[in-house]
């Protein structure tokens, strides 16, 4: 935001880009205290308005023959005032509180460095412009003879959103990219299909109290995009309707749900007790949960009065003997990905690149040699047995008797749109949309298990406003209609929640949540101290601690490959050399990592390339003894560790005893990276030293032998 401050003050922004592709010129009602203060001024048809300078009059913001004002105060038809969204943005970030000098101390980057970065970004964006001699036509049908690129690319991944201020930080980054006009331009940030999607996407979560009924399918998807209080899944009194409290006032825009709260909420019976917890793949009894010791206790805790488990039944599907398996009452042994069909669909996270739309499949390459079933087949059969309409014919028979491959080919979420976009239609030549092709999987296999459609050069950039792209994306079913997708600098939906918190509207937050919603639902990005950091004593917990997975440890699939564990058989805590020296810590020493929630003893490694106030480690390499069919003395168990043990799923109590999730207040994204710790030397390394805590070893599965100690794949005469 200090970079934005610098760019605005030097007028190093792409004004043409802003008026054509963003809501910068949309008028925002300025009527403090009114129920529509801060919302977009709209005409009778609900269309947002701009001020057209060439006619000195209001005009629909989408009109293409106008000269929109980006600053100024204008009078609406009802006599009230409105200002362009850009003005609100400029007023905020040009303020001194966003200057490099004001923020350098708290972000740890010198003011001179911030100024230099801003100057470099401006220089590259506006002096080193990339121009492609490619004609293209915009959404309004106007031809352009060039594609102009601002070649500034930024790399950010999940770390930012793993903080309790992550939503706003992500927004700030995107606002910066938009201001310099580098979204979907040559050299800039580029969309991978199926994006861009309309903003906001027209998909609401189902699950309001009246929508969840026994023996009845829900009327819509469980996840979606809320754009105002009316979309929340809350009871009459404003309390959460879902077990994870997603789409409640505690996390109104939680488009991913709050998986990290399910066990904790179910254990408390808040918002309701459950009889069965059904989980797949996520290793929630170990490295996918915050507060592992607490989580394990919750999974086995009993109600003193009845003697019944607080979470009575647990069903879990996994391909491996992971740490969660022993807590399950019913285990559904999954196949590995080598033994089943999968589709990497445009509906989830496909293999697309910016120049083309693509998806892919996996096919079984070995037959299972044990009593396992692909979990997708199990889910389809469950759906059939329950008589869910999506899985049964009118006669009540199975709609997909061939299991998952049958579903991949024959399921249509909308006419002509299925899990796979390639080789559709009776002749197998339709792309994106088309009739079911019974031979679709064969066509994929013939094409090395993937399909890709490459965009024409004229379709590759400005996808949000490129007529050829928008029409193609519509024809392929990626979007509903070829309308311009306007980038939202100012997010009206945020203001709707804020207005509710201020008392406007029919759907009101409980008083306890009012101030929080009002504070964090700012329609423009803000920065605030992450919650844990704000609550704990900074002198007692002076350092940040991060944990992230190496790629081999995503989910719990196949991570114990005999070769991979030779590469990363245990993890260390990485600490900066200079900090370690100050703390009297040497390479290989064992240290105690203490947070406000707990403590672990781990072995450390000194490193130059880590910030002095931060330590980090790999997640998921540390295993519980006995899990994964490894020997109890496997280094993953004896030397490896998890930081999860010292991360709480809830924030410390505040006020009336309510504990909010350790998560972003807007999206509910788990704040894994908010952890604050202190590091103390425990002991020098010596033979037999182990990480702590060590949990009781899991008993091996009686029916499964230990893996061979010596592997000789490819030896003459077999292993």
């Amino acid at each position: 935001m200090a970079i934005i401050h610098e760019l605005l003050n030097a007028n190093q922004i792409d004004l043409d880009y802003l008026v054509r592709y963003t809501n910068a010129p949309w008028l925002v009602i300025q009527d403090e205290g009114a129920g529509d203060h801060g919302l977009f001024a709209r005409d009778d048809e609900g269309r947002p308005l701009s001020w057209n300078k060439s006619a000195d009059a209001l005009a629909p913001a989408a009109a293409t023959d106008i000269t929109p004002a980006i600053v100024g105060s204008f009078t609406l038809a009802d006599g009230r005032k409105a200002v362009p969204a850009f003005q609100l943005l400029a007023e905020r970030y040009m303020g001194e509180e966003y200057s490099p000098d004001a923020v350098a101390g708290r972000c740890g980057i010198g003011a001179d460095v911030i100024r230099r970065l801003a100057a470099e970004i401006a220089h590259v964006a506006f002096q080193e412009t990339v121009e492609l001699d490619v004609e293209w036509t915009d959404w309004a049908g106007r031809k352009h003879d060039k594609m102009i690129g601002r070649p500034v690319a930024m790399h950010a991944m999940r770390g930012i959103s793993a903080h309790s201020n992550g939503f706003h930080t992500c927004r700030a980054l995107h606002v910066l990219q938009i201001l310099i006009g580098s979204i979907d331009v040559p050299g800039g940030f580029r969309y991978k299909p199926p994006f861009p999607k309309p903003a906001p996407p027209p998909l609401k979560p189902a699950g309001k109290p009246g929508q969840v009924k026994p023996e009845t399918p829900m009327p819509g998807p469980p996840l979606g995009f809320t754009t105002g209080p009316e979309d929340l899944l809350v009871a009459e009194d404003g309390s959460a309707a879902r077990i994870d409290k997603a789409f409640s006032w505690e996390a109104p825009m939680s488009a991913h749900g709050l998986m990290h709260l399910v066990i904790s909420n179910a254990h408390k019976g808040d918002p309701y007790p459950i009889d069965t917890l059904f989980m797949y793949m996520a290793n929630m009894g170990w490295n996918s949960s915050m507060n592992v010791p607490g989580t394990i206790a919750m999974l086995t805790d009993k109600d003193e009065a009845t003697g019944e488990y607080k979470i009575p039944r647990i069903i879990y599907s996994d391909a491996y003997f992971s740490e969660t398996i022993p807590y399950a009452d019913l285990i559904l042994p999954d196949t590995t990905y080598l033994e089943r069909w999968d589709c990497i669909s445009l509906l989830d996270r496909p293999i697309c690149d910016a120049n083309g739309v693509a998806d892919s499949i996996r096919q079984p390459v070995v037959a299972p040699d044990r009593d396992v079933r692909p979990f997708q087949d199990v889910l389809i059969e469950l759906g059939t047995r329950l008589g869910l309409p999506a899985f049964t014919t009118e006669d009540g028979d199975a709609k997909f008797p061939g299991g998952y491959p049958d579903y991949i080919v024959n399921h249509e979420r909308a006419p002509g749109i299925g899990p796979l976009a390639g080789f559709r239609g009776e002749d197998g030549k339709s792309e994106g949309k088309g009739a079911v092709n019974p031979e679709q999987l064969d066509r994929y296999i013939e094409n090395q298990c993937f399909w890709r459609h490459e965009f024409e050069p004229t379709e590759r950039f400005f996808k949000h406003s490129n007529q050829a792209y928008l029409e193609k994306a519509t024809a392929m079913g990626l979007i509903g209609a070829p309308n311009q997708i306007v980038l939202q600098l100012y997010v009206e939906a945020m203001q709707k929640f804020r207005l509710a918190a201020e008392g406007h509207g029919a759907v009101q937050p409980p008083d306890a949540h009012r101030e929080r919603v009002k504070t964090y639902f700012d329609p423009l990005p803000i920065w605030y101290t992450p919650f844990e950091e704000a609550r704990v004593d900074e002198t007692a917990f002076p350092m940040h601690a991060l944990t992230q997975r190496p790629m081999a440890m995503y989910h719990s699939w196949g991570a114990q490959n005999a070769w991979l564990r030779q590469i990363h058989g245990y993890n260390r805590l990485y600490i900066s050399r200079t900090r370690a020296e100050k703390l009297g810590i040497a390479d290989d020493d064992w240290v105690r990592v203490t947070s406000n929630h707990g403590s672990v003893k781990v072995q450390c490694r000194l490193m130059e390339g880590v910030n002095e106030d931060t330590v980090w480690t790999w997640n998921a390499i540390g295993k519980r003894r006995g899990a994964w069919n490894l020997a109890p003395d496997a280094p993953e168990a004896t030397k490896g560790f998890l930081l999860n043990h010292v991360i709480s799923e809830l924030l410390p109590e505040k006020g009336a005893g309510h504990r909010y999730a350790n998560a972003d207040p807007v999206t509910g994204q788990a704040a894994w990276f908010d952890l604050r710790v202190r590091i103390e030397k425990a002991v020098e390394d010596q033979p037999g030293e182990t990480s702590e805590p060590q949990f009781a070893p899991l008993s091996p599965v009686a029916t499964v032998p230990r893996g061979a100690a010596v592997l000789r794949f490819g030896a003459k005469g077999g292993q």
Partner: protein, 268 residues
């Protein structure tokens, strides 16, 4: 002891490894094992594969195994000037391979036609002299077979006419997601790899040993963290002053800094 070819081979097949862009992902190491566990040198034995110390074969506790390609990660420099280097290490197929000269049986040999250094397992007696002689640690002893194994430059891929031509490259090169590994004839000064070595000042590992490694490493590029190098100013102060001076007051009530945008004529 074993002789080298009488005439140095004209063709010198080898690898060029770009340390500037290697990200240390180990894909080369894993795909090397994948191919070679089914190829010329199979098996590539693993010990204590799923365990700590159950097997006492070998010398280490914990899981370990034969691997022809290992990636080491280290840091150079201190503090903000430091950088991480990921360094993949495998046989360099030297011009003057001491590992071959010391072989008492002729099992280790250098091919005349392309310079690849190989081991004939049938006559290897597992004496380990070659691993003592190799300063690069490229030799891998398979305790279970009692013979020495090593990188073959995927000799069973690069000439394999059962493979598509595009696949006739070493497994490590084929799989590298960063494009940090290149394969070619370093004996031909005009080959792609030779040109690359020339342009990027590719270097030999430990040239002072005199073994003349064929494989080359491309050094990390110099760090670029000063915008001045591409003409950017150190700050936007001058442009900010200019923008402020262009902000002329007019009558519509917008104050201060925002004035600069009042007269913008922007078309949708």
């Amino acid at each position: 002891m074993t002789s080298l070819p009488a005439r140095p081979s004209a063709v010198k097949l080898g690898l060029v490894i770009d340390l500037d862009i290697c990200v240390g992902c180990h894909a080369c190491a894993v795909n090397c094992k994948e191919w070679n566990a089914g190829g010329h040198s199979a098996p590539m034995t693993d010990w204590n594969a799923y365990s700590g110390t159950e097997s006492h074969e070998g010398e280490d506790a914990g899981a370990w195994g034969v691997g022809f390609n290992r990636v080491h990660t280290f840091e150079v420099g201190q503090g903000t000037e430091s950088r991480t280097v990921h360094f993949p290490r495998s046989c360099l197929h030297c011009e003057e391979p001491e590992c071959v000269r010391v072989c008492p049986t002729g099992a280790s040999y250098k091919r005349e036609e392309d310079g690849i250094v190989l081991v004939n397992a049938d006559i290897c007696i597992g004496c380990k002299l070659c691993s003592w002689a190799c300063p690069y640690g490229a030799r891998e002893y398979d305790h279970s077979d009692g013979v020495m194994k090593k990188c073959t430059l995927c000799v069973d891929r690069i000439y394999n006419e059962n493979l598509e031509e595009i696949d006739r490259i070493p497994a490590c090169v084929a799989t590298c997601p960063a494009g940090a590994r290149h394969f070619g004839d370093l004996g031909d000064p005009n080959s792609g790899v030779s040109v690359m070595v020339k342009e990027r000042q590719g270097y030999d590992l430990m040239p002072e040993m005199g073994y003349g490694p064929t494989n080359k490493y491309l050094p990390p590029r110099a760090r670029r963290d000063q915008g001045a190098e591409n003409g950017a100013p150190v700050s936007l102060a001058a442009l900010a002053a200019q923008a402020q001076s262009e902000a002329v007051p007019n009558g519509n009530g917008v104050g201060g800094a925002l004035l600069r945008w009042v007269d913008s004529v922007l078309s949708r």
